[in-house]
Each structure stands twice: as C-alpha cells, then as structure tokens.
Amino acid sequence: MLQTAPPDIPIPGALAGQQPLYGPRSYQVMAGNDLGTQLLEISMGPHHPSTHGVFRMDLVLDGEEVVKLKPVFGYLHRNHEQLAEKTSYLGSMPYTDRLDYFCSMTNNWAYAHAVEKLADIKVPERAEYIRVILAELTRLVNHTCLAGFLVNDLGALGTPLIYAFREREKILDIFEAVSGARMMCNYMRFGGVRANFTPQILKRISQIVDNYPCFLDEFEKLLTSNEILMSRCQGTGILSAELAINASITGPMLRASGVDYDIRKVDKYGIYDRFEFRVPLGEHGDVYDRYMVRILEMRESIKILQQALKQFPEGGDFMNPKVKIRNFKPPPGEAYGRIESPKGELGFYLISTGGTNPYRYHVRAPSFVNLTILEDTCLGQKVADVIIILGAVDIVLGEVDR
C-alpha cells in the first residue's frame, strides 16, 4: 500500500484535498515490498527525443514499473481558438494547417466542412474528388510516418524511419505541385479547393499509388514478423473496448480495440459512399494491433485512391462560384463538422452571430482526447514500454495544445 508523509509546505497549483504529484523533495515514499525501496518520481520532461514534441510525463516508478503517470502539456499552446475569434473565417484557414502539422490537408478539410455545414454551401463534384484524393494521400503520409516513428522508438536507430520518409517525400512533392507548399498547404476553401488539378498531377499521383503496395510489402516483410517488434509490442498497453468508447477514443486506436467505428462509413461525408473499402479492426488492443491496423488502413487507402482516380470527372468547377470570398458572413447559427483524420475524429465547433469573425471556434482535437487513457494503459508497464505506448497513441503536439 502506498504510504506518503503529508507535505507541510503548501504547494501552488494543486486543489485542496488532492494528492499532489509534485511535492517537496523531503517526503519519503515507500514502495509496497519488504526490500525497503523507494518510489522514484521522475519527469520525462518536455525536452526528450522520444516524446514526439514538447510533451511531459510525470512518472512515479517502482523500479522499472510505472505506478502513476500524469501527462502534462501546454508547452505549445498558441491560443489558436482566440486567434480565430479575431480573424475572419477564411483568414484562420492557414492556422488550421498548423494544428496537426503532419496532416494539413485533412485539417483544412475539417474546417471547410464545418463552415460549409454552417453556411449551407454545396461543393462541386470535381472538388470533392480532389479532396478525397488529397485526404487519402495524407492518411498514407501519416500512417507511414507513424510506423517509422514507432519502430524508431523501439530502438531501430532510424533506418525504417528513413525508409518511411523516403515515401513521404514523394507525396510531399505532390502537395507542393498542387498547393505550393509541402506541409502547410492551405489548400481547401469553403465550397471547393484553391486551384485545379492538371493532368500531369493526376499522372504523378497514379504513379505513386501504383508503386505504394510494393513499398508496403517491403516494409512489412522487414518489420511485421520481426522478433523484437512482436515480443515488445504484443501484449503491451492493452486497452479494452469499453474503456476506449467511454474515454472518447477515436481513430485507429479505437479500431485496434475491436470497435467498428469509422466516421467515413458512419457519417458518409463528402463522397465516401461511392468507394468500396473495408475497415480493419484489431482484436487485442495492444500496440502491435495499433501498428497493424494502420498498415492495413494504408492498403485500404490505396484502394480508395485507385477508385477515385478511375472515377475522376473530366471537367467541372473546382470551387463553388457562388461563395463570396471577401466579407464572407455566414448566417447566425452553429455547426459541428467532423471528419476522420488519420489520428481520429477531428471536429470543429463553430458559433456564428452573423459577423465576419466566428463568435466561438473550438477544435476537438483527437490527440488531446486520446491522451486520456495514457495512464490506464501504462500502469504496470516498464518505462521503455511507456515510450512505445505513447508512440502508438500517435499524438502531435500542435493538436494537443492548439
């Protein structure tokens, strides 16, 4: 049983009656065994090569096992929501790029989707196909990078990461050809996209889509039945389905625990009901399942891309011509638009009172909510496993802190 001496120095920032995690260094905390060992309180601080950004975890360790874990973030808080209240609707589109800085196209689409719901704007068909193609390319980028980073956290010293980044570079070249920027694309607009696709871009995308299964096969041959990955990831960080649903986990983490919920299939936003794709589900909810779900989702994304390229319309508007660009004032009301971003459910909640700026702009970030269960999945695990569990949650601090 954990015994702590009550600290007699008042600690700022803690509510009364709550057991504070940071205390004066003088208190003795005894672990519950007869060796007389102490618990070690360590801050896996914001400067850390494996914490995927400026993210801190306050760990209390009994030897190598985790007894208590509190995530601390806010180091990248840029007050995005208040900035959007002072900027016009279109003016905060570049800010949404910087939320989840790996997947800027899906962030843009989520925001455009929410505003289109608010102001009841229709999107032409060619623009819908462009959006789906770019969103699935973003999903490929994100899941590849995640596989690379996860294996990097396991200790693979960067080689699979560089293999993954080599494929990412090809897709970033597409983004640069389409929108002018590799990462911060700022490409979607309310009612369509900013610029049209040329036939050369379509040819390059189809080249990438044709070569991608070969890269995935090579990646899987090297990694999926790798002994180290299997023995470290299987059985680590198990998350049950009931806890996942209750803790509002979404995205590949939820599907790895066996829950069949994919917003592309449930809400059918955009034109996703025209494509045939399956939703991979995991059985055990451990880190290995999360890794495999993402690899399988990449294969499904390639299927969607192939179908979209085949069905791509010849002509058509890339932007709804009736939408005002200057002085865009949606009618008073509110809307919550959500899409399936590669990390989970990304939702934008907008309240408009009829002006040019939103009255309330809230981002429901998937990484922020997915961190709720970090403590639950890490209790009893070793410190080294905490790193890979965090890697499999797939957080990006731009979204967590906004």
């Binding site: 806010g74 509002s248 919920y261 919550y336 922020f368 909510v369």
Partner: protein, 185 residues
C-alpha cells in the same frame, strides 16, 4: 421522434431551435446524461465534444405584450455544450447545452464519472473559461501554467501589460503600463 422522448421524460429541458440543441438546467444534467446513456433507444455511449462558450450580458429587442419592441437586458452567462453520439447504434448527435448562473463562481456538474472522455475537455474549459466542475477527479489547469491567474478565453479577458516582468518598461510596454497605473490611481 428522439427529441420528444427526451422532453417527455424531462419536462424542464427546452429545445432551442436555431442551434438544434437541448437547454438543460444544471441540476438535471447528470440525470439527462444517465438517461441518454442507458435508454435503449438512444444508447449514447460516446461524448465527442465538450466546449465552453462565453456569452456577455447583452441587450436584445423583444416584442413586448402590447406589440411594441422593448429593449431588455439579458444577463451574461457561461455555457458548456456537449455533443453525444452513439457508437453502438451509429446515430447522430444529441446536443446539450448547460448554462451557469452568472459569470462569477460559475459551477456545473461534471459528467466525467459517466464519461472518461470528458476529463481533459472539462479541465480545458476550467482553465480557459473558469467554469468549475463539481465531481471532477482532477480539476486543475491543463494548457496554461499552474500559477496563471484569470481565464484567457473569456470575452472580457484583458491581457497583462508586461509578460516578461521588466523592471523598467519602455516603448509600447510602457504605454500599457501607464494605462494600468492611471487606473490603479
């Protein structure tokens, strides 16, 4: 069909047409949430979004009893908006709004005992808006640092004049500091 079921069982909640949401008085929030979670027609087992909104006191023109337009003052309040979805039944959002009584000492019950997913989101609302959630297991600041005073996302938030605590302010920091000294008297 769904909205009648809720209003029949809980006559004190009202339907707000412009935002398509239910306004729930904060005494009944936990009962309504439990009903949504357990009733087989709803099965709302997933809270997707918990957002805070700040409404300043404002004047509105309302048609009075004699047909003339009268300007009445509406008091300000803070609000928490909840979006519930159902993963089992895969149906659409049920939106609840819960208003506080006024902008000082704003308190609302926490739905974290029912839904773990609201834990971090309610902490964020406490941090940025100042609504205290009673029954929350770990209510402390999440995005701002622990010793920060005041709540930044409120509409009447005024930023401090000097973030870096210069002992001798100059340029535009001096202008802001002069404004504060003049007010303090």
């Amino acid at each position: 069909m769904k909205s009648e079921l809720l209003t029949q069982n809980f006559p004190q909640i009202t339907w707000d047409e412009p935002s398509k949401s239910f306004v729930v008085p904060h005494m009944d929030l936990l009962d309504v949430v439990d009903f949504l979670r357990s009733h087989p027609d709803f099965n709302m087992d997933y809270v997707s979004n918990v957002a805070g909104v700040d409404w300043l006191p404002r004047k509105e023109k309302v048609k009075g009893a004699d047909g003339k337009e009268v300007e009445i003052e509406k008091p300000g309040y803070l609000e928490a908006v909840y979006h519930f979805y159902s993963i089992k039944k895969k149906h659409g959002p049920v939106i609840l709004r819960c208003r506080t009584d006024g902008r000082e000492n704003a308190m609302l019950p926490s739905i974290t005992p029912f839904f773990r997913g609201a834990e971090f989101q309610e902490r964020e609302i406490y941090d940025l808006y100042g609504i205290r959630f009673s029954g929350h297991p770990d209510l402390r600041r999440i995005l701002m640092w622990d010793e920060f005073q005041d709540h930044p996302m409120r509409k009447d938030y005024r930023e401090p004049d000097d973030y870096q605590w210069e002992p001798t302010p100059h340029d535009d920091v001096l202008e802001k500091a002069k404004m504060h000294y003049a007010e303090a008297g």
